[in-house]
């Protein structure tokens, strides 16, 4: 079973000043808190990513607020318009204090 918080970012090849697509995926149960454990009959506590942040060369370029209704192992795609090469860093924060990060180098040619 692959580990919660494992994340991957893919960025297309970038031309200066042009929008390039960023695709991200993170492994996370995104548990709603509504589901019952079939064995015990007890409700499984909510465990979901609430905040996603994307910083490019230290500047916040994108941010998201998520409810429990985002799917398990959440996929997220947005765009970047880099003026220069640099590092895209993403941070995912969940409701149980989990903080997960991933980075990708973006080369502007």
């Amino acid at each position: 079973m692959a580990k919660t918080g494992t994340a991957r970012i893919r960025v297309g090849s970038a031309q200066k000043g042009q929008a390039v697509q960023v695709r991200s995926l993170i492994l996370h149960p995104m548990e709603t808190g509504l589901r019952k454990d079939p064995k015990t009959g007890k409700k499984i506590p909510a465990h979901f990513i609430q905040k996603v942040k994307a910083d490019f060369n230290g500047d916040r370029v994108f941010e998201a607020d998520w409810s429990v209704a985002i799917s398990k192992n959440p996929y997220l795609s947005y765009y970047l318009a880099p003026q220069s090469s640099g590092t895209l860093k993403m941070t995912w924060e969940d409701n149980q204090g989990g903080v997960f990060t991933a980075e990708a180098e973006v080369k502007v040619g």
Partner: protein, 165 residues
């Protein structure tokens, strides 16, 4: 979509001011950044995410329920094979005027699903996958930098519900 080249702006600003040192550089750095990414601080909208009807969720998230159907596109399957994983794409031709996208699923127990802050993204488009409990309208709302709202609505039919209740 960033219009100015920050570094050139900062250098010429410093040159014109003829100033030395850290104080001007610090002020310059703050002034030259596009307004949208300056000290962005968006508290998690817990109250809005907890609302149980579409109208109360929209009122809490947007401050209004009266939103014009225009300028926004919403891509989603007409029939969802699996209500636990419904792919959606919200986009708009308003470009850098879009400050945020808000997503609502009308028939979900808590309709307000996500909020996306388009701070410096180069294109007003965002994609993700959502859970739907049953056949429902999905509503994508674009909030512009001047505080206007526009939406697109699409009904998605769900055969196997995805809220896991």
């Amino acid at each position: 979509m960033r219009v100015t080249n920050e570094n050139t702006g900062r250098r010429s600003f410093l040159k014109v001011m003829g100033a030395t040192g850290a104080v001007v550089a610090a002020a310059g750095a703050g002034l030259m950044k596009p307004a949208k990414s300056l000290a962005a601080n968006f508290p998690f909208p817990k109250e809005a995410f907890d609302k149980e009807s579409l109208s109360s969720a929209m009122q809490a998230a947007l401050g209004t329920t009266n939103v014009q159907e225009a300028n926004v596109s919403l891509k989603a399957p007409t029939i969802a094979e699996n209500g636990a994983v419904v792919p959606i794409t919200a986009s708009s031709d308003m470009g850098s005027k879009v400050a945020k996208f808000h997503i609502f699923v009308e028939k979900n127990p808590a309709p307000y699903t996500a909020r996306f802050h388009m701070l410096d993204t180069g294109r007003a488009e965002v994609s993700t996958r959502i859970k739907m409990g049953e056949t429902s309208n999905i509503i994508a709302v674009a909030e512009t930098t001047d505080g206007s709202f526009y939406k697109a609505t699409k009904e998605v039919r769900v055969t196997i519900g995805g809220c896991g209740g």
